[in-house]
């Protein structure tokens, strides 16, 4: 008898999470929980100003404090050729500043002491003399001809421009616009936002002089990339470097880059010959580490008067801060921005992107998105909303007319992506029904008579996940495959290791479910390990929703290799030829006699005790998975709001999410991911942003200024499911961790714009704080750009 897949915790089981057992007892093992014998503590002194020449640094008073072991400055790093390090985007970033500081919060010096309090005291005793320079705080200032050059450390640096990039067919797009009946335009600003995981970054470097081995515990979503980078930068042999990512208290892209603190802690450990712990404080995390967004988005749609989209063009102007520290595939300067409009049938498109340096924190990272697709889809869905209004068409029907139809797959987008599956119209229908769309217009009109402003916003999108195939996707030249290694012990229990890195997604639980599905070994019998580069196979880590599409596929593939060997063992045990063997979940049997069979556990035991002549003993293997294509989940989000005309406060009445992420490994975990993503979408739409004053002071440097929604503000969510399996993924999964963060914000903004649209307001840039909504309502004018910062007298 085949096993019941749900009972053994296979695909589709809402299996309770294995990792919860330690977290609910307070027994997680986060970076700051790790204590090594003889460990010293490091604190970083950061620049208080955004742009300045360093005239002098005097560390002598820091050494006067008992318990201070070492003070490191940029000069000392430079003497070891470590003052600068490469970023993941072929730029350089200062580790400790030597010549200038280029953003507020930049790392200037580090103190290593017996105790974290002493290290903090000593940082305050360091005297740095700065000669301030004008601060550049947005791309418009950066591109001005007379602008001060921020990156004067680089030869041949053209002003403050980072890159100039384009993609698409310009001539075909120009023609589409020439032929258009209607041209609809949109200009937006996607404000800077910080992923802000609850846990900050940190590391413990432990260099063992006797063996020459460097072990670094660190908060990394991609420990193998770190190992490769440390090998190259610090010129240490790769086999003598061990990177260990312990439990991560969230990541959301913030823990992908390699930060100066990690590098300084490594040198500090080498010099002191003691383990050195660095734990960033919240302000350090908010003002110096990878942010997301901060892009100006402009574009237009060429339309036929019946509503058919003919062409799209878009220009982005992005702010990368002081160092181009984006974490993204190297061929694409502005990530996968060109996935915009991928769910719509649109014949011609063109994108131009320009990036600038500013005196702000370096980045940007893929904050809970697959490399800039959040900005791409935000522009798309705000543009679609405006175009429908310009045409006088219904929001849903305009989308339905232009969405790629089920029978058009595989579909080549105007920018060259190949989307392969989906039921976009079905998702739209389910969402419309759930939100009450058919009666909504009458409800809205009736409510207006009573002075109530109701609005519904829609956002539909397909997102490119699972970067990616080796032809197109690499980081620093390393192809973006992923890996899994599976070892089945003789009693049929197993250990699985992957190159991904969990940070809350529940890999320990869900990877075991894939093994259960493929081999019939109960998920409870499979241990999952990740994050230790000495034991895990090389992988590119977890970000961009790539775990399930790439590492998850590797787990399925390695399981199949194990099954193939077990089949040979089964034939041997059953004394029949391999061709006469059939498989059902957990068991091989003889085709002619189903009663005669052996379980996968029988085969495991035989692999160690009774293998066929000539067979290599043991039952283990690995798989490196190079995906043939990206995966394309689809989402349709509906938000209903009520805006208070007297205050501009908007309340969320209902949120409906329809997600088609292909086959769901663990529905409970999938829904958890969607709700988390929707909350970040709500956060960005309503309150969560970082800005800078004209001197480059970061506004949003702590949780009193950087607002995050609590349980009180956050709305409830109604979730719906559609399953269109991915045609090329071994178990049909598409990835889901980021869809709601990507497509969600436009649904909230579209809802508020729908509610206030009668005043002629076409756009309110995020964050849609009540005063901005109120101003739009009372003036009938658009609200653009960041909320202004009031400067002191």
């Amino acid at each position: 008898m085949a096993l019941d897949e749900i009972k053994i915790g296979g695909l589709g089981a809402s299996r309770r999470r294995v990792e919860d057992n330690r977290f609910i007892r307070g027994k997680g093992n986060y970076i700051d929980d790790i204590v090594l014998p003889g460990m010293l503590h490091m604190e970083i002194l950061r620049s208080p100003v955004a742009h300045a020449r360093i005239k002098s640094i005097d560390v002598s008073k820091a050494y006067d404090i008992p318990g201070v072991r070492l003070v490191l400055t940029g000069e000392m790093m430079a003497a070891r050729n470590l003052a600068w390090m490469p970023t993941l985007s072929y730029d350089t970033q200062a580790v400790l500043a030597t010549d200038k500081v280029r953003f507020q919060g930049q790392e200037v010096a580090a103190v290593i002491a017996d105790d974290p309090y002493i290290a903090k005291d000593a940082c305050e005793a360091i005297v740095v003399e700065y000669e301030q320079l004008p601060a550049i705080v947005n791309p418009m200032q950066a591109m001005a001809a007379d602008s001060v050059v921020i990156r004067d450390d680089k030869e041949n640096q053209p002003g403050n421009k980072v890159f100039d990039w384009e993609i698409g067919d310009k001539a075909a797009t120009d023609k589409a616009f020439a032929d258009a009946d209607v041209i609809s335009k949109m200009e937006l600003h996607y404000p800077r936002s910080h992923p802000s995981p609850m846990e900050t970054c940190g590391s413990i470097a432990d260099f063992d002089r006797a063996t020459g081995k460097l072990t670094v515990y660190m908060t990394s979503q991609a420990p193998h990339i770190v190992r490769a980078a440390v090998a190259m930068v610090a010129e240490l042999p790769e086999h003598m470097i061990r990177i260990v990512s312990p439990d991560l208290g969230g990541g959301f892209g913030n823990k992908v880059p390699i930060y100066p603190g990690y590098v300084v802690s490594i040198l500090a450990s080498i010099l002191t010959e003691r383990p050195v712990k660095w734990i960033e404080d919240k302000t350090g995390n908010l003002i110096s580490t990878g942010f997301g967004r901060d892009v100006y988005l402009q574009g237009e749609l060429a339309l036929r008067k019946d509503g058919k989209m003919l062409g799209m063009r878009m220009k982005t102007i992005s702010d990368h801060g002081a160092f181009y520290a984006d974490a993204q595939p190297s061929k694409f300067k502005i990530g996968l921005m060109h996935s915009t409009f991928a769910c719509y049938d649109i014949p011609a498109a063109h994108l131009e992107s320009v990036g600038y340096y500013t005196n702000k924190a370096p980045g940007g990272v893929a904050y809970r998105c697959s490399f800039r697709v959040t900005e791409a889809m935000f522009f798309q869905e705000r543009m679609v909303h405006a175009a429908a209004n310009d045409l006088g068409m219904d929001q849903a029907e305009f989308r339905r007319m232009n969405l790629v139809k089920d029978d058009m797959f595989p579909y080549r987008t105007a920018f060259g992506f190949l989307t392969d599956s989906g039921q976009y119209g079905k998702c739209l229908d389910i969402g419309m029904k759930a939100i009450g769309y058919s009666t909504y217009k009458a409800e809205q009109a009736e409510a207006r008579k009573r002075g109530k402003l109701l609005g519904i916003g829609i956002s539909t999108m397909t997102e490119p996940l699972g970067a990616g195939n080796s032809r197109e996707y690499d980081i620093l030249g390393i192809k973006m495959f992923d890996s899994a290694e599976l070892r089945v012990h003789m009693t049929g229990k197993a250990i699985l290791r992957t190159g991904a890195m969990n940070q809350g997604q529940g890999h320990q639980t869900t990877w075991a479910q894939i093994v259960a599905h493929e081999l019939g070994i109960p998920a409870d019998d499979v241990t999952v390990e990740e994050g230790d580069t000495d034991t895990a196979p090389f992988g590119m880590g977890t970000y961009a929703s790539r775990s399930t599409p790439v590492a998850g596929a590797a787990v399925a593939m390695v399981s199949r290799k194990i099954r193939a060997k077990a089949r040979k063992i089964a034939a041997h045990l059953l004394e029949v030829s391999e061709e006469d063997i059939e498989w059902e979940l957990g068991r091989f049997y003889v085709r002619s006699n189903k009663e005669r069979g052996v379980t996968i556990q029988d085969c495991a035991l035989a692999a160690y005790s009774n293998m066929p002549d000539g067979m290599e003993p043991g039952l283990e293997n690995n798989a490196y998975y190079d995906p043939p294509n990206l995966t394309w989940p689809f989402a349709a989000y509906f938000v209903k709001v009520e805006v208070d005309a007297e205050t501009g406060v908007w309340d969320v009445l209902k949120v409906v999410a329809v997600d088609d992420c292909g086959v769901r490994i663990n529905p409970m975990v999938v829904e958890g991911q969607i709700m988390g993503g929707l909350t970040e979408a709500y956060a960005m739409a309503s309150m969560q942003y970082q800005t800078y004053d004209s001197e480059g002071n970061c506004i949003g440097a702590n949780y009193m200024d950087y607002l995050l929604p609590t349980a009180w503000e956050t709305p409830g969510f109604e979730l719906h499911e559609v399953v269109t399996p991915c045609p090329h993924h071994p178990i049909g999964a598409k990835g889901v961790g980021e869809c709601a963060t990507v497509a969600g914000p436009a649904a909230f903004v579209n809802a508020v714009i729908d509610a206030v649209g009668h005043t002629g307001v076409r756009n309110i840039d995020m964050p849609m704080m009540p005063n901005r909504v109120y101003e739009a309502l009372t003036t009938g004018k658009d609200i653009s750009g960041m909320p202004p910062v009031k400067m002191g007298d």
Binding site: R16, R17, E19, D20, N21, R22, F23, I24, R25, G26, K27, G28, Y30, D32, D33, V35, P66, G67, D114, D115, Y117, S196, P197, M198, E199, D247, L248, G249, G250, G251, F252, D281, K282, Q503, G504, Q505, G506, M668, V669, E671, G672, Q673, M675, G676, G677, L678, T679, E680, N702, Y703, M704, L708, T710, A711, W712, T714, G716, F717
Partner: protein, 175 residues
């Protein structure tokens, strides 16, 4: 003693001013010498090696450090260890007995009330403070009681469900 906290056997280093405090933690009296500036969260984590209480923001905004102080939820990152002298604390390590989980812990697992787990100890203790007073709260009462605790992963809906699950079990147990 060269550091900020030590069990009483160690002598303080010359020049380090300390104060001896006795704090009841999860039912056990702990007597330690601390520097007056030591934060309570740091005493728990580094001095008493109870790392379930997390330091998130250091500014009483995020709630990862919430513990119960004489039964009331407080943010231990902005309270000095010396202020706890003579008081009774409850941390996540005290929630479960040797053999069984507290219903709140079970609820968080059953209803998928956590992803990365970093906010979870603080969330559970804030929930305990609520349920100890009111074992039949409404969803709004739960959301309000947890509004001093941030979570970046879950979107809160499952946390609310977790607390409702626990409340139901606690009511059943008290009947």
């Amino acid at each position: 003693m060269t550091s900020l906290y030590d069990e009483v056997q160690a002598a303080p280093a010359p020049g380090v001013v300390t104060r001896r405090v006795t704090i009841k933690v999860n039912g056990d009296d702990r007597t330690v010498d601390v520097e007056p500036r030591l934060l309570l969260a740091h005493l728990l984590r580094q001095g008493l090696k109870m790392t379930g209480t997390h330091s998130g923001c250091d500014s009483s905004n995020c709630g990862a450090c919430v513990i119960l102080f004489d039964g009331r939820p407080i943010k231990s990152c902005t309270m000095l260890a010396v202020q706890a002298d003579g008081h009774s604390l409850e941390t996540v390590e005290g929630l479960a007995s040797a053999s069984e989980l507290h219903p709140i812990q079970e609820g968080f697992k059953e209803e998928h009330g956590l992803h990365c787990g970093f906010c979870t100890p603080g969330m559970m203790l804030a929930a305990k403070a609520l349920l100890d007073k009111n074992n039949d709260p409404t969803e709004d009462e739960i959301r309000w009681a947890l509004s001093g605790n941030l979570c970046r992963c879950t979107g809160y809906q499952n946390i609310v469900k977790s607390v409702l699950w626990a409340a139901k079990k606690m009511r059943a147990e008290s009947n």
